[in-house]
Amino acid sequence: MKAINFTPRFWVAASLILFVLVVGVLGPFIVRTDPNAVIGGLYDAPSMNKLAMWLGTDNEGQSVLANLVNGIRTSLLVGLLAGIIAMVIGLIIGLVAGFQGGVVSDILMGITNIVLAIPSIVVVILLSVALNGRNAVILGFVIGITSWPWTARAVQAQSTSIRVREHIDVARLSGARWISILLWDILPYLLSYVAMAFVLQVSGAILTESALSMLGLGPSGETSLGTMLYWALAWGSVRTGAWWAFLPPTIMLTLVAFSLLLLQSSLDEVFNPRLRRGKLRKRPRGAATPVPAVASPQTLGSSPLIEAPGRAGRTAGASSSTVRDGGVA
């Protein structure tokens, strides 16, 4: 394959993400303090004497640093779990709908569109209310099963356009089975989109988790970045100026969201050459129109809920013709 030119932006994003991962994965092994252990009083200021006190104590006299590293781990767990669930469901539905076509596709996309139209925050809130005994895994699951339609839509649009490429016919004529065609002739073309969608799903899930936690629907008995903020707000740390209680989780959340979005946009530039300005190639004759960026999945209540029809319409033109008679010289 052609060597991919990763932009500096990609490397910045990658190192930020690596940093967060290291803190979340290795942090709990370095900061050995039990996040639930009371090691001081209400909002003791940070001191450099003890590792556990580097970020002071929270409203219950627990180590903020210990809570932070464990909270990052929980948030990452929720994000990855939700992202994987959403990706798997979305990929399967999108692939089947895109590749199968016909009635199966209509039904699957109908379901997808309905789920897409209902704000997922509503479903997440209702589900969380209905479930007691919430933990990180259950939350990840709940968020995952409400956020797959995005991936499904993107995958379906892409695989529909790939389905009419001639290399699929060539594969069929070579006697390849449909599963082999799906795995080797369609999936590789989708990977870039799936990767980008996954990154956004993970980031969206982490933010949704903290929003839920701040509404009081977070995991019970576990620390996440959201529950830290919940307690920090409930016990007035902002008003009393106890910055060490609310600033670390705020900054970490921002860092996670920013680095994942940066990663997505740099991947977009790599995969979607038209966004690379100044590097436009000469337009070849008869080349397929590149599909614009994957629309972002909704994070808690702030993004548009349906993919802008304009983009869909623009890309559909390249792939929708069934009567394939190109007399183009």
Partner: protein, 336 residues
Amino acid sequence: MQFAKYIGRKVLWYLAALIVALLLNFILPRLVPGNPVDAIVSNMSRGGGATGEQMKAVYNNYMQQFGLDKPMWEQFLIYLSNLAHGNLGTSFAQYPASVNKLVGQALPWSIAIQLPAILVGWIVGNLLGAVAAFRGGWFDRGAFVGSLFASSMPYYCLAILLLYIVGVKLGVLPISGAYSFGLSPEPTLAFFGDAITYWWLPFWSLVIVFVGGQAVGMRSMSIYELGADYVNYGRGLGLRDNRIVRYIFRNAMLPQVTGLALSIGGIVGGALITELVFSYPGIGTTLFNAISQNDYPVIQAITLIITVAVLAANFLVEIAYGLIDPRIRAAQTGDR
């Protein structure tokens, strides 16, 4: 008439989505183990103050209102008929306050911080994104990274930071509530002048994030359009740059207009946490209280309103698109 058919199909889809949403809204709170009315009544009795006779009346009232002694399908019909009458029920936690009243009090505050933020953010963000795409160079780089950062920032994180820096550290704006203690909402200049000081912080925390998101979107749409053949042809015909920019906008704007409409649709549930951070008495704070008090009627009412607003906005957008964009119209009606 093809277009009527198109609208008809859309109506059916959104009706289906609405029914699914209603079902979820109806069923999920009923999955909570135990009878919610039992729970709430025992809660009330523990607080003392209510006699057995009163408890009995309250219990009967709830049982009748929700029809909890009846089969599920009948309960659902009761639920639908209540909704059809615009009756969202009675609050558990603040008995006998009606949910309509609680939500009605909260809604204006949510709209007051969000609608201006969405409109201002949309206009500024689109201008910024379009100019960045067209100008290129350092301006583009700066605007893009800045917008990307602003848009990626969780809006409640920005709210917390603003609250701390501007409200607590600098102490220039009030940090909690929507108006000063002792005042009550009334249409006077004095009240307005007071309330606006409370309004600034939540507004800014939303508008900055929104500007970022719009700018990023507009920039990539514009860059995409800049590479289009009609741009090159327009230049070849000697059109002025501003004329070509107008063509680009026209095409790049369509998805952005959708974004605006959908954001307005998301207005009810768009900034729940912002309100929590600033203790602003809107829907978010109401929801937060309801969750902490297991006030299911209020939770249900809020999720329902969020859903209906979003569905309505989506629906209007699709209809508007069918009217505006000749390409969509052609694709839908088979006109070639």
